[in-house]
Amino acid sequence: MTLAAVPPPVGVPTGWHFPTYDESRLGNGLRVLAYDCPGQYVVAASLLFDVPLSAEPRDREGVAELTARCLTRGAGGWSAEEFADALASCGADLQGAASSDAFALRLSVPVAHLARGLDLMAAAIGNPTFAEEEFAHEKALQLQEIDQAHAYPQHVAGEELNVALFGAARAARPAGGTTATVQAVTRDDVVEYTSSHLFPADAALIMAGDFSSVDPAETVERSLAAWQRPAHPVPDFEHPEPTQRAQLLLVDWPDAPQATVRVAGKSVTRADRRWPAMFVANHAVGGSFSSRINTVLREQKGYTYGATSGLDAGRHRGTLSVSTAVRTDATADAVTDIVDIVTAANGSITDDEVAMAVRAATQSAPLGYERAEAVVGRVELLLSQQLPLDHVDANLERIRAVTTADANVAWGECIDPQALTVLVVGDASAVRDGLAAWGYADLREVTPAWR
């Protein structure tokens, strides 16, 4: 048998671009963006509101998530049970979601049932019942979920990393609130949140799917044009500044077979001119399977099932964070390796790494946006971060132009390897001494506030 000894050439992809959209505006001020995605027979639609999580009253944090949960628990004269039946019987799913930079009500429905799905969405947003009994039960479930989440080391690592990075900002605290703040939320708070923040003027309905058999704008008009709710000023968005000094933190997790590790520091937002170069640099450092971090920690040393780094960016904040879970006895070695790799990246990113990152980013776009849900998700992100709607194509163009020098300069400017926060959730008795001996920063053992 014969197989060529070298890989076959790869054809240059033809000019992909992000799906195009039709834009319209309803009389009530709702902006409608419809992306036609042939072959996507499950329509994704998201009603997106311009409201930051930091708009929650400090002592009622979690009210946004609780509102999101309650919107679909009875609406338009239907009981919670009837409403769930109505959704399920047209194969639809409708979920609210609150995040740092937006509040969304998301619908997923087969295209044949789009009109019905939008009617249900309109009922949920326009005429939610907020029955006292449903409110009380959703609140109880939310409180239980807060407790449950604390049994998962990965979740705790994420929460404690935010605490360590963002100090007093809203971003430091759990999106869904704490036990104390959720306990304090009343039904009136949910009503108030809804009337203050979830109104049609300047909200956006983003939808994507195969619209060959339906007129999306007309369907939206029929379902949502009648929805009225007075507009209010949009609250200010916070600008959380990540901590910029070396920190080494340990959360004890007795008998954990693995240590859950996060290494994070200040980076940039998508609006920064260095974003494309940072994307490329991060791809080389930890953003892909073949990256330096995964190659060392997984493929060379076998410490972990996988290690990645990512750029987490919101409207006004940007961080780099490395995530992994490693064998307990390799914890100190693993965090040392990670910080060493992040440090060594400065000035050492190669032409090959840049070329690979550029190809990976630009050529993976058609795959990344194959699903209607992915298209809507990206537009949600663009609107919530106040980026232009042509950002995807423009950003890919900029990534194509990134040089090796650009990647190295951006990494050098944006990442301070002496100012990283290193957080370990693991068995303190087994990892404490190794971490303390490392010397990156004084080891500080932290106890989560809920413990």
Binding site: L3, A4, V6, P7, P8, V10, G11, P13, W16, Y41, G77, A84, A88, S89, C90, A97, S99, S100, A102, V109, P110, H113, R116, H137, L141, Q144, Q148, A149, A151, P153, Q154, A256, Q258, R270, F279, N282, G286, G287, S288, F289, S290, N294, T295, R298, E299, T304, Y305, G306, T308, S309, L311, D312, T324, A325, R327, A360, Q363, A365, E370, L381
Partner: protein, 516 residues
Amino acid sequence: MTSRRVREGLGFGREGGRQQQGHGQAQDATLEAESENPHARKTRPVTLRQQTAGKAGTLLAARSASGHRYIASVTADATYPMVSRTLDNGLRVVVSPTPGLGVVAVNLWYDVGSRHEEPHRQGFAHLFEHLMFQGSRHVQPGEHFSLLQGNGGSLNATTSFDRTNYFESVPAGALDLALWLEADRMAYLDDVLTQQNFDNQVDVVAQERSQRMDNVPYGTVFERLLPLVFDPGHPYGHLPIGNMQHLAEATLTEVSAFHARYYMPNNAVLSIVGDVTAEAGFAKADQYFGAIVPGDAPKRELPPPLPPLDTPARLDHSEEVPVPAVWFAGRLPADAPDNRALTAAALASSILGEGDTSRLHRRLVRGDQIALAAAVSINPLIAGNSLLVGSVRAVPGHDLDEVTAAVDDELRRLATDGPTDDELAIVRAQAEREWLDDMGTAAGRADAISGCALLFDDPDVLNQRLPLVQSVTAAEVQEAARHWLLPALHAQVRVLPSAASDAAAVAVAAGDGVEV
């Protein structure tokens, strides 16, 4: 648990490596093992979603809550063309063209899974799958990933009970590259494998197990549950992730033997789905795979179908978990081309435990408010039986006897009264939506096609699945519930919070005294 999936989905803003999975119920997470977690897109495991797959184009009628009957129109016809051919060396190839898509999915299913493993090498099929990424004659270790990701592709592999699955989605221009890489490791895996790489992947798999099971609350439940449903010696008596001690004792020689035994063109299927014509797809398949010498493919030997459990074993286990939870599992009919009985059982399981409209959710979570979450699902399998799995997490303060009494009550009620018309309409609508969702990417279609082609030797089975869902009657659902789902037919594992860290497993005799 769908609500959590969507809520957590508002993960605005991360670029680069994928965030590791958050908390959530590990319903299916341990029933299959993966090669590469954090960087790749994942296709769904073969569960009810694919089980209920079939041709779209259905009329559904369901009562709307406002009192009038909502008649939905016919969903767009979303069938996909499929052309099959078998190469001279026995490789079955299916091409499904979607012109203009810009991407192509390549998907190989090999007819080997954890059920084929030697008793003292549990987990070997999955370890082997990892080694398939450690280079082959013309491919350096790590190159499989770097070449594909570096050309915009996404890729992974998974090992389940019945099969091992390798897949990548690439821009159309990289189809040749994907096929060449797959062909090279099918033909010559062991040319470059070193002891060092082998040892490294044994370590990686051990960390995979830790990350997915040992460092996760309730993470080892399935490992405890399976041997209660199937004898430890049964092909489904152990999980694909396997036994780490067995893997530590495995040798490089065994890797070569495993490759020689199972990895050959006539023990695999290849599907190519997306922006390629049928002629070009077959020509390329032949160009890269055609010269690979066939082997002596193992004959498929399936154990006889087992009846439902007659002595429902129960295991109580304590560990550091937030709330008490119970998992139950039972046998179901094996998957087959015309799997009416399994489809009926799948619909019964959906009525009981899929989503906010399900009976367990309404009774335990919403009504009695004694549970935080309740779910029932099926795992279609071919070796004699499929698997039914359910789970309930209790509200603190309510013990598991109370919870299981309510579950048992609902199981009996479905068996006694059958489903309502509205319930049947709802689960059919859900199945249709899941089908459209699964078929929404070339990767999803390729996986489903490979599955039917490998397991049933007939990719067209795929197109018969949704019509089957639509044609199964209320009486058949009731009969499935009566025959397979009654509480006396299930094993259960109860997980109880322990203050002490030395989690002790306690075997509890149940029924007429089966010791576990």
